[in-house]
Amino acid sequence: MNLKFKDFQKLNMGPKELDSIRALSFKKFEEQGFPTKRQEHWKYTDLKTIINNNFLNLQIFENKNSLQLNSSFLLKNFDHNKIILLNGSFIESNFSFEDEKKINIKSLKVALENKEEFEKIKKYFEDDQNSMISLNHALVNDGIICEIDNNYSFNKPLVLYNFFNKSADSKIVNNKVFISLGENSNLSLVDFYKSENNIKYFNNSIHNYTIKKNAILKKYSINATLDQSYNYCSTKVNSFSNSVFENFLLSLGPNLIKNEIHCNLLENFSSCFINGIMLLNGNQHHELKTNVNHKFENCKSSQLIKSVLLDKSNGTYQGKIYVDRRAQKTNGYQLSKALILSENSEFNSKPELEIYADDVKCSHGSTTGNIDENSIFYLMSRGLTKQQANKMIVEGFLNEVIETIAESDVKKLISQLFVERINKANV
């Protein structure tokens, strides 16, 4: 592979400081290359091998043509506000259900070209000892910055569309998303991914969220339709006093995705809930790595991940709870359950608890197994075929996590997408 960074640099000149961060970050990436399984955090997802096996000539995505949107991709029968990213670039937004004065949105591309604007986000370009992050710092060329005022609750969910079309084929797209939620504000964010048929791309994306005092951010990450995409998405969350961060992941679609969620519970009584399902078949490879950092007293976190593996698919959940010395009265919980339905599939679960405080409640559990034979027998003795019985049990197993979604319109959307997917999965 030969990423043409020099050409990219010429086309993306910005403030001097950014230019030098890009150059330095690219150098770091070149030294390390794509991560391999020799690195602890990439033990279960050997990205280098996966890229070499699937991309002959991966190139940097350059946004040259004016971008055309295929509007049939938009969600129907679901009232929502929208932000549309096409191939990682900001196209348009629409907040028709909201008081638009309370929302400030701008394209990251514009911010990267302006010295003062860049100054505000510079701190998010830190070195992270992770070559994918370095690569993103070097090659990011668009995304969004969205700031929501204090005391504003959205009336309808906000869908962040991530569309990819044939211009992204064989390309690596690097973008960043910044969302900041003001004090006492409330937002439901649907992070929705969809691509045109038969295109193969790599999306390397970093999301940075700030959740201020008493604010609530509910995020739904939806990768539902089968596609040939390869994705790395790192989400970094800073949560302040009494705030709530919820992330539900519907991990069904892409060939490869590694989702990382790093949530810092920085002040009293903030909480973090991560729930998700994976349903994988064929050669799909999905990983969720979470890192919940309890940095202050009285914070709460909970994680529930359920996975079903078919064919030669590969799933991983690495869930870490870190409890700082200061973080007394922490309440942390995580549970992973996986059903392995094929001899050739694989599931890796690695719970990690790192605790430095002495008055905490932390627990974790992990089970991996087959479908219970008694359950199958019970259903078959009522006239269901083995296939019907299997499907009903798998659907029920995963549905339990979907049932945790409190918002009925989002839950309905997610249920629909899930049912479409499971009907195709040949359980």
Binding site: N374, F377, Y378, R382, G383, L384, E395, G396, F397, N399
Partner: protein, 247 residues
């Protein structure tokens, strides 16, 4: 309806049923009573198709070799087993399960499959008769159900599926007196000249409510005595040992 001859069954070299014979004609209600470990549940399991037994002998159901019929087809052809310990299946909605099951059976019988509306009407009526609270039907299948709710749910399924041969495996165990009466009423309401029942129980109590045509005493894998419903009273008085040795 059912003709079992010389049925022997063993599990891991342990013989459980030994040359067991039983004939059930249309419309008959047979009770099998016996002490723990006599093979009652094994008989029920084999008839419904549970794997894991080494089986010899012959079982004819409506003249066909039952042992070669797949599990789901037995159900579709009208065999119903009310489980002693109904399985809890997390995440599976009870109503959705009932509907899928009923439609699988209806499809086999060349009947029109019911849509959600018709199904809900049917299930509402049937569950009312069994005094089943409607809200438990929107819960996960058997999960968190009390012992009585589980057993009533089995009888509800039986009522909806309208089997030709119903096997009740210790349906009375764990039921209080009121629930026992409701369950028995449910069974009695289904009795007709074509439908047969095989009722497996430890205690004579259930048979006060459901009067069987025949009572068989199963000890050590074999029927040691057959009689009318009076035999159940006798068992209550003399115990299995008394009846088994007095033959």
């Amino acid at each position: 309806m059912l003709d079992i001859s010389n049925l022997s069954a063993s599990i891991e070299d342990k013989k459980i049923l030994k040359n067991f014979n039983l004939k059930i004609r249309n419309g008959e209600v047979h009770a099998i009573m016996g002490p723990n470990g006599s093979g009652k549940s094994t008989l029920a399991n084999i008839l419904s198709g549970r794997k894991g037994y080494k089986i010899e002998g012959k079982v004819l159901y409506e003249g066909k070799d039952l042992l070669n019929i797949p599990i789901e087809e037995r159900a579709q052809k009208g065999i119903f087993l009310a489980f002693q310990y109904p399985t809890e299946i997390p995440g599976v909605n009870t109503n959705n399960f009932l509907k899928t099951s009923l439609n699988a059976v209806r499809k086999f019988r060349d009947l029109k499959e019911l849509d959600s509306l018709d199904f809900l009407k049917l299930v509402k009526e049937k569950s009312k008769n069994l005094k089943i609270e409607e809200k438990i039907l929107s819960r996960q299948l058997n999960v968190g159900f009390s012992g009585g709710e589980k057993k009533k749910n089995e009888i509800l399924q039986m009522t909806i599926l309208e089997p030709k041969l119903a096997i009740l495996d210790e349906t009375d165990s764990g039921l209080d007196i009121d629930a026992l009466r409701i369950v028995s009423d449910g069974v009695n309401a289904l009795r007709n000249k074509n439908r047969s029942f095989l009722i497996i129980t430890h205690y004579q109590r259930l048979l006060d409510y459901i009067k069987p045509d025949f009572v068989h005493v199963l000890v050590n894998g074999k029927i040691v005595k057959t009689g009318s419903s009076d035999l159940a009273q006798e068992l209550e008085k003399d115990g299995y040992e008394g009846v088994a040795t007095a033959r």
